[in-house]
């Protein structure tokens, strides 16, 4: 193996700010996609509880579509496919909010993750003893109020480990946006690689950053899980 390490080559030419910019973009994508996934997933889980046949069927189809098709294909479908359905002027608007690559990637990743979050919340809700709902309804609370105040808070606590896992996967999936040219962390790494040929060094930096954030997310999840189950300790 003929390779001499040279990290200093990475310090010039604005490369550090490119890496930093990539990291920020990745984190922004993660946050926005997560909010979308969480909001939509919660909605799906609650809608499922209504037990309307047609609605359940529609949601099941949505979940199946988003879980069975690869994430990359979803991104390609949105960026190349859906974008082509809009008129050209639309793309100018897109560029004002971060560019089509950013927006469509966030939508694609958010929707796919919402399918998983919805299913995870659904099984968490089912794990709550029916006596809880009975007690809430016996006090006179409506179904929605019982859901909001009694069932969902407990369901979230139960779901924290799986939701942490989903967040981690979401964070890693943002890297797929580099396939359509978005300069997030992986994209920045590749750009610097082709400019400096210092592949090992830049990959090491990018890897370290990914691992760092992943570990942080895992610790955050463990902390939240501990805190909320301590408050509830059955």
């Amino acid at each position: 193996m003929n390779y001499t390490l040279d990290f200093t080559a990475l310090l010039g030419n604005g490369y550090p700010s490119l890496v930093w910019g990539g990291l920020i973009t990745t984190l922004q994508m993660t946050l926005l996609a997560w909010l979308l996934a969480f909001a939509l997933g919660s909605l799906l889980a609650v809608l499922r509880m209504l037990n309307i046949r047609l609605l359940n069927y529609a949601i099941a189809t949505y979940v199946a579509f988003h879980r069975n098709v690869p994430m990359l294909v979803h991104i390609l479908l949105w960026y190349f496919g859906v974008a082509s359905l809009f008129p050209y002027e639309f793309n100018d608007h897109m560029n004002m909010i971060g560019g089509g690559e950013f927006v469509y990637s966030v939508i694609a990743i958010g929707l796919v993750t919402s399918a998983y979050v919805g299913e995870d919340l659904r099984s968490a809700i089912r794990a709550i003893p029916p006596g809880q709902v009975e007690a809430a309804r016996s006090l006179g609370l409506s179904y929605l109020q019982a859901m909001r105040k009694v069932v969902l808070p407990q369901a979230f606590t139960i779901a924290i480990p799986t939701l942490t896992n989903q967040t981690l996967l979401l964070f890693k999936n943002t890297s797929l946006a580099m396939a359509i040219g978005l300069i997030e962390l992986t994209g920045a790494g590749r750009a610097i690689e082709s400019a400096t040929f210092r592949t090992f060094e830049i990959y090491l930096v990018v890897t370290a950053l990914y691992l760092g954030v992943s570990l942080l997310l895992m610790f955050l999840g463990a902390y939240l899980s501990k805190r909320s189950s301590a408050a509830m300790a059955r």
């Binding site: 009975e134 016996s138 006090l139 109020q145």
Partner: protein, 240 residues
């Protein structure tokens, strides 16, 4: 106050409730007893529609339970205490009591808090206001559950085997609370195995067997000289 008219409930061939007709007068304390599977829990759960019925009618204060305007409104006027307490584990005792009055706009947060603390004092647990259910013993949890039901200022209190899930040494503290409630004139229907409670406090004893309301009598009469054979057998079995 509560009226059952020919109430029937069945699962396939099995009659859980068999033409039950009875009345509970305001301020009356009724104890429902009988062997397991007799339908006593089912009966009490039909009053606030936790269980539906297939035939017959149930009236609470002249309102048809199965044809009322707002079920939630009706339920808020009936207090229900569960065998498994069913306290909300993610809220403190105080929050458990305050949640429904505030959510249903019956009281401001401040008033709800005040009332909740008074109720906790009534059941002897004012010091545990900020404790979470997991930190309370079974008897304490059930007392909080009773206070929670009272927080809605109900006109009727229903108890579904309130002491059956408790260790023996904690049964008394809960029964004390229930006795005090009865003494204040609350209309109560209790499903219970605690026959001493029935003897001391009940105005009427209802004996159920296999879904049928077999016998209704004041406690003195029921325990001393039960009319039906099944009641006689039941009392023999539990006397040991």
């Amino acid at each position: 106050m509560i009226e059952f008219k020919n109430v029937c409930k069945w699962y396939g061939d099995y009659m859980a409730l068999d033409h039950v007709s009875a009345r509970v007068a305001p301020g009356e304390v009724v104890v429902v007893c009988g062997p397991s599977g007799s339908g006593k829990s089912t009966l009490i759960r039909t009053i606030n529609r936790l269980e539906p019925i297939q035939q017959g009618q149930i009236f609470v204060d002249k309102v048809d339970v199965y044809n009322c305007g707002s079920l939630d409104e009706l339920r808020s006027q009936i207090g229900f205490v569960f065998q498994q307490f069913n306290l909300f584990p993610h809220m403190s005792a105080l929050e458990n009591l305050m949640m429904a009055p505030v959510m249903l706009k019956r009281a401001s947060k401040a008033d709800a808090r005040k009332h909740a603390l008074e109720l906790l004092e009534r059941v002897g647990l004012e010091s545990k206001a900020d404790a979470y259910p997991a930190q309370l013993s079974g008897g304490q949890q059930q007392r909080v559950a009773i206070a929670r039901a009272l927080a809605m200022k109900p006109r009727i209190m229903l108890f579904d085997e309130p002491t059956s899930a408790l260790d023996p040494e904690m049964v008394n503290e809960v029964l004390q609370v229930m006795k005090a409630l009865a003494a204040e004139g609350m209309t109560m229907v209790c499903v219970t195995h605690e026959m001493n409670f029935a003897r001391d406090v009940a105005d009427m004893v209802w004996f159920m067997d296999a879904g049928k309301l077999v016998e209704l009598a004041p406690p003195d009469q029921f325990f001393a000289a039960p009319a039906s054979d099944r009641a006689k057998k039941f009392l023999q079995d539990i006397r040991r």
